[in-house]
Symmetry: C6
């Protein structure tokens, strides 16, 4: 039995879409801050490439802090920890990139993540979003998990076009090219309840 969407309304928690040996699934990216000196750590039985996604997201955020409205001193006063449940499942690949980016920007801005949304896509350092595989399986898993809106790279539109529209009922798709598209669509302007003062 597969996971159900819960909610994204804690800062730093974002729903992604994964493609595993046993089919599509949703996953959660969870990030938290603790006092520290800017170290990034990760757990969740993650492979090298998936860990690289978190590094790329954090480097992008650091380099574009002004544009994102983040005080750059924050990076030197806190450690960031990124976790991806469930520990028994090995996870790898670049497709959680935009989910990680959204999680970290939510964390550093304490902005609320939009409800019922999930996403999948690789990120690049210069801010582009790249297409990923397993789209059909991921979409079916999203539906089962009661996701309403999905963010994908615009180059993945062709994958959606090949799916029987019957299966897509009740889902809204947003196609993105750049990280700024992702953040505009996935984050609300509102802060989370009990937002941390960073």
């Amino acid at each position: 039995e597969r996971d159900k969407y819960e909610n994204n309304d804690v800062a730093g928690v974002v729903t992604g879409l994964a493609w595993t040996r046993v089919g599509g699934d949703i996953l959660f990216i969870e990030s938290i801050l603790s006092k520290g000196k800017g170290q990034l750590s990760m757990t969740g039985n993650l492979g090298k490439v998936m860990k690289e996604s978190a590094t790329i997201a954090l480097e992008y955020i650091k380099s574009n802090a002004d544009m994102l409205g983040i005080d750059p001193n924050v990076f030197e006063k806190y450690n960031v920890h990124v976790h991806v449940p469930e520990g028994a499942t090995p996870k790898d690949g670049p497709s959680a990139g935009i989910t990680m980016l959204t999680s970290l920007v939510s964390l550093f801005t304490q902005r609320k993540v939009k409800k019922s949304i999930a996403m999948t896509g690789e990120i690049t350092l210069r801010g582009k979003v790249l297409p990923v595989g397993g789209i059909k399986e991921k979409i079916l898993a999203a539906k089962r998990a009661r996701i309403k809106e999905i963010l994908l790279c615009e180059d993945n539109k062709r994958d959606i076009d090949e799916i029987n529209p019957e299966y897509l009922k009740g889902l809204t798709f947003h196609y993105v090219k750049d990280m700024s598209d992702v953040l505009d669509l996935a984050l609300t302007k509102e802060k989370v309840k009990n937002a941390k003062k960073l």
Copy 2:
């Protein structure tokens, strides 16, 4: 021959339930503090995922110190060491998560752990408890070891419902959703004898 429950009345010592190649068993999570600079070390022949559980528990505690009534300066003045006897047995998997969390919160608050209780469940960074496998074998081992109360994720209730009630006599089950449920049920308000002043 399997282990017997002893007691949880030292701060930082908590009984967990494990599922090994040779069946269910109980295990103990033992944590201690020594003067230091906030390093976390682990022993007990632990695999990568089980080590990650201790990291997740500590990161969660650091990020929620206020809520848990822990002075955040403690994290910078002490090192934490977590050990899981018995060294000859390799151990892995995420199911000791709530046991580790309970151990570390008991350690940092010096609160006493409830008597005759054992537990099994994965933890997430945002404070959820996830279900784990091997429930039947773990429950039988708990009974043999004279455990009286067991903490499980509410999603593991279905596993208990499938067990012949005959086998469950004398056991009380508590189903939990969040870390706060775990801590409410597993820790007493009382401090341990000779509690450390942190």
Copy 3:
């Protein structure tokens, strides 16, 4: 389907040519700076030799900062991160050397990279450019991706001479011996829009 050339007009983004198991392809080297203490980090599923290329490029730049018009204090105030999309593809070998050099010099000088240009070649610490393999496949990929100008080591001219001129229509070749040739040909005198003040 293969990548298309986009543009090189962000500082630190340069188009290279790669030769993979499935034929030639273009790739992008992306570099960014963030406040730090001179550390070099890399992502993109890179093998040991490809990582060495970034190290060689950075060491060369540090040792020749004056000649390149770079304030040497920059190296101690910023961290450099180099990424090569796409994370799912393992990449290795020395042939991205001149692309990495160009990326890093563009980053440290904020000079604009020439439009529609791509390159491939190994670098040495003393500033020479060495020939690389897979030239035919790389050239065909460059054409498909709408590259107009290509930088190669002069020792790779013989590889171009063996290709049917039909295939080379619309491509201009520049043969280089030294790093300074590469930088003269690949970087414009102009700074990028919104150039960072380093």
Copy 4:
């Protein structure tokens, strides 16, 4: 041919019992201090679990320094090195735990180790002693090596009860539950000759 017991009268040198592919044997745990900053290093061709025993022993000692009469500043002014001859033999497992604990407490207190005594048993962080395997082979080796007294976990008494009493002549057994039992039985109140002032 097997080792002979020599003596334990240097601080930090304690005789243990080992069970190897070629039968039982005695081994020596040797520890020394040198000026430093509290680092623990180990040699002797030791496996991961055996190294963990030294870590557990040291963490236990640090956390219980008061009870053991050790000035906690010592841990920050000295490095500890633990060696187990003979380098050509790979060694692993948790059974040298109480031997390592005794060695380190002797080292930090400069108390003399009792003559003609050897021991085997796993340690836990909360101070319990756990039973170990290979008891029969270890006892025979102890006798050949002219050991007179042996310390074992009380749960290993059943293993002794199964040995032909003929083989046990001249040996005295002490069964222990806790680390404090071990230290009471293995260390004298006397300091070694030329005791170091720590």
Copy 5:
């Protein structure tokens, strides 16, 4: 097709002789300094033993700085990077030792390397030169590459004596016992053009 000798007239660039699976070849050792704290780094797809040669050379130089006319403060103010093109070829073994020593002494003294010279030989910490293998293949490669003078360990003279003198025409051999012989023969008294002030 094999490499051609170019020149050694940049400080820190020296020609060596290598013996690979596909026969003899020449190689270049390239070293540069950048501001730093005395770290030694290496690139060029080097194996453990070849990396050790650079370490031995640097340790020898540090320990004999006075004799070599090098201000010992230099070692704490600069990092040294040693590279051996070509990255696609894995390289190992101790035979580049004297080439690395010559490269580093040239770098730290800014003395010019003699023209048209190449060398091969293992170094020791006490300053001896040891014989190496593959002499015949290396000599033939040197000739093809237009080398004029070759430095070898005196114990390799017997290998030269077994080669048909026909093949040796145009080559001058220098047999060395100690590092000081190497440096006397390989380095000129002159500094390189634009010598760095260290």
Copy 6:
């Protein structure tokens, strides 16, 4: 063809006896000091156990500095590098222990090593010398290399007694129990020429 004894008259250079797949051989332990902060590094294609021997020797020396007449401040002002030629030969095992100890004590005291002497034996932290294997092969190699005196553990006397006395002509054997025996026999009272002032 095997190595010849040269001389031990540089501080830190001592002749040992090795037993390799191709028979016995002599080897040299070479140690040097450079300004630093007390780090120990090693080269020479050494395995884990052989590296441990150098660590044990250095820890023993640090802990017994007074007895050995060494100013303990030396350990914090210098780095020690130990090398064992020849890099192409992998080396391992504990038998170079007394050779490494002698090398390091010679280095730190600048005392001259005795002429024409070689040695083999394992060391322990408490200062004992343990017997080693391959004695016959090592002795024959020593003779071929023109060694005159040999230091062995007293427990290796039985191995010498089994060798045809014919083969032992011209060799003097010294049997040792403790490190102090080794140092008394191997080091002269004299300092080396141009002794370093530490």
